[in-house]
């Protein structure tokens, strides 16, 4: 009993999540030393509002990437949800919650459509979601033309009951967005790691042929992951609209790099079959902290933030493929042997 616990601990200490936790701790130390303001809880919690939507989407894009696919349309769906909420509320006089529900349903349909083409017609996920990102961004623009306000202004003036969704602070300090995110982490974790459905997602990613021979409806599983990621994008769209107080059609248009980086940094193999929700959650927080800390502590303009995120992505993927290379592995073996001797 005792031994198995220590084994577990050992295993955990060696795991990728531990590395991520260390990176996060390093971020806190470096940013905290550079500017003590960074460590102020109120400011820290507040800053999370700015990147929570990316974290939320990354959680479910993990599902897609575990099946071996990719989803680059999620950003477009964020804008689509946002503008649907705005237009149906302002110009069609719907109740705000009805508008939210409608937007989520539309997003799910969008996800289902892309997922259908990918799973049932066998088109590469990359192309379909590329087309999807054009299509849904285009539809969002068309919807925004229905509004009586100019599209670049966005739609604002939402009722307080809606705005409180992302503005509320639990205990006067913990933002509700963080709570929503944590709830979604739990849901995603249970779904992926504790249910039959989650096992199927992994199996489809490892070997779709074998999965289908063992009686799994692989196509349905693949399609469902795209629906999930679209719904998560819709949730992010709702939260973002509520937080900003403005509905715009181009919200989320620059999320793709951040989402993919978060998922890959979280330990998900882009070829499928491996990945986990906790890793993605940690990685997305790391990226968020980076996006908050660099401007605050090192006076780096927000336009430049694609550079560190891009470099992070490149370093992680190259590093991981190096670790997989036989040469590096041999070196590691030698190293271990020399240590043992």
């Amino acid at each position: 009993m005792n031994k198995s616990f220590s084994d577990k601990l050992k295993y955990f200490l060696k795991s990728w999540e531990m590395v991520l936790i260390c990176i996060m701790a390093a971020e806190f130390i470096v940013f905290g030393l550079a500017n003590a303001k960074f460590l102020r809880p109120a400011l820290l919690f507040n800053s999370m509002n700015d990147f929570m939507s990316i974290c939320i989407i990354s959680l479910f894009v993990t599902f897609v990437m575990i099946t071996g696919g990719i989803d680059i349309q999620a950003g477009a769906i964020v804008g689509l949800t946002s503008i649907i909420i705005g237009v149906s509320w302002q110009d069609f006089g719907c109740n705000i919650w009805v508008s939210v529900l409608m937007a989520v349903v539309v997003a799910a349909v969008c996800g289902a459509l892309s997922g259908f083409f990918i799973a049932y017609c066998g088109v590469q996920a990359m192309v379909v979601t590329l087309g999807g990102s054009f299509l849904y961004a285009g539809i969002a623009l068309l919807v925004s033309n229905l509004a009586s306000t100019a599209s670049y202004q966005g739609i604002s003036g939402f009722p307080d009951s809606f705005r409180v969704l992302a503005k509320h602070k639990f205990f006067g300090i913990v933002p509700s967005q963080l709570v929503i995110f944590l709830i979604l982490v739990v849901i995603a974790y249970i779904l992926l790691h504790r249910t039959k459905y989650g096992r199927r997602v992994f199996l489809v990613g490892v070997n779709p042929e074998a999965a289908s021979y063992s009686g799994i409806n692989t196509r349905l599983v693949i399609m469902s992951t795209y629906i999930l990621s679209a719904i998560s994008a819709a949730i992010a769209g709702v939260v973002l609209t509520s937080y900003l107080g403005t509905a715009k059609s181009d919200l989320g248009s620059n999320f793709t790099l951040n989402i993919i980086t978060a998922v890959v940094l979280g330990g998900t193999l882009s070829t499928g079959g491996k990945g986990n929700v906790i890793g993605t959650a940690l990685a997305s927080m790391i990226i968020g902290m980076l996006r908050f800390g660099l401007p605050l502590c090192f006076k780096i303009g927000t336009q430049y933030l694609d550079i560190p995120v891009g470099i992070l992505l490149l370093v992680v993927v190259v590093g991981r493929s190096m670790a997989g290379h036989s040469v590096t592995q041999k070196l590691m073996m030698k190293f271990k042997k020399s240590k043992a001797a």
Binding site: C121, F134, L135, A137, G138, L142, L257, L313
Partner: protein, 333 residues
């Protein structure tokens, strides 16, 4: 096999003509020769970037960093020209930058074995940020007038010199690809990487070369871009990577690699570049631009994939029938 390739380009060419005719039916003033020629003239940037993208797709990979590559090259070259540098030197620097970006992508994708979409997405982010670093977010303006006129010089009729040069270049590249040994490597590697390596084709080197070529073409399109637009902003070239992929797909290039031609890519690029003009003539306004692009892209890939699947099924049945009948006539592949 050759026939099949021809058919793929032909179908996208027919699609282009059909598109023009439909718009012509709705608005007859579209079908003036002047207008159609300017459709072609205006698509030069897209053609060049799509030809480069075609190389990345031939080998079965993708390069989504070409948009940032275009933007960064345009920024550097334009600011050099503005400061009165020698033109040839500025162009050479631009092309060198493109080649280096391509080399980096090629290293990551083929030597390190990172999935191409993810690696080039990272490069894209870095280069986009570098544009801000280089300019500090300011526009690059006041380019020399002669440089801006370069784009508008006409040859005969209304055909611009730059379009004519591009067209010749596309044909030359096409010839090199189809009729030289090294040119055929690209298609071979994309068609069957393991098989290509077995018959002695340097697969890794070919892939790196494809990325370098892709980067160089993106850089050239960046130079043409700045000549055409006349200024470069920090967001120049945003989204061009997606349009280039779409152009290749429209031009009949299969994203699984090994199928297609640069002529197809160019036709696809003309379609992509003409969409906003077509929409104006259909009195729809450019707000439909993205929607139409998305619908076209998805429709074409889905139809293509379904047709390929049907063909594969048909071939399989034919083989089966031939085997059961024990006749040689059925096995024609």
């Amino acid at each position: 096999m050759k026939k099949l390739l021809k058919a793929r380009e032909l179908s996208s060419f027919l699609f282009l003509i059909a598109l023009f005719l439909v718009v012509g039916l709705i608005n007859p003033s579209f079908l003036s020769s002047e207008n159609i020629i300017s459709c072609f003239n205006d698509s030069v940037v897209y053609i060049i970037i799509s030809v480069g993208m075609a190389f990345a797709i031939f080998i079965g990979e993708i390069d989504v960093s070409v948009g940032a590559n275009l933007g960064f090259t345009a920024t550097v070259v334009s600011s050099m020209l503005r400061d009165g540098e020698n033109w040839a030197f500025a162009f050479a620097v631009g092309i060198l930058i493109g080649a280096l970006i391509g080399l980096f992508n090629g290293w990551g994708v083929s030597v390190m074995g990172v999935p191409s979409l993810i690696f080039t997405l990272g490069t894209n982010g870095v280069m986009r940020g570098m544009m801000y670093v280089y300019t500090g977010g300011a526009w690059v303006e006041n380019l020399p007038a002669e440089f801006k006129q370069l784009y508008t010089v006409n040859l005969f009729g209304n055909i611009s010199v730059i379009f004519a040069v591009t067209a010749v270049m596309v044909i030359v590249v096409h010839m090199l690809l189809k009729h030289t040994k090294r040119g055929r490597y690209f298609i071979a590697v994309g068609d069957n990487p393991a098989g290509a390596a077995l018959v002695g084709i340097p697969a890794t080197r070919t892939k790196v070369a494809a990325y370098v070529i892709c980067g160089v073409f993106a850089a050239i399109s960046g130079i043409v871009f700045s000549s055409r637009i006349g200024f470069v902003t920090a967001t120049s070239g945003n989204g061009y990577e997606m349009k280039a992929v779409a152009a290749c797909v429209l031009g009949g290039i299969s994203l699984s690699g090994g199928v297609g031609s640069v002529i197809g890519a160019s036709i696809g690029a003309v379609i992509m570049a003409s969409i906003s003009r077509l929409l104006v003539f259909m009195e729809l306004g450019s707000t439909y631009d993205n929607t139409i692009t998305g619908v076209m892209l998805i429709t074409i890939v889905v139809v293509d994939s379904l047709m390929q699947r049907r063909n594969a099924e048909k071939n399989r049945r034919q083989r089966l029938a031939a085997r059961t009948a024990e006749a040689g006539e059925g096995g024609n592949n």
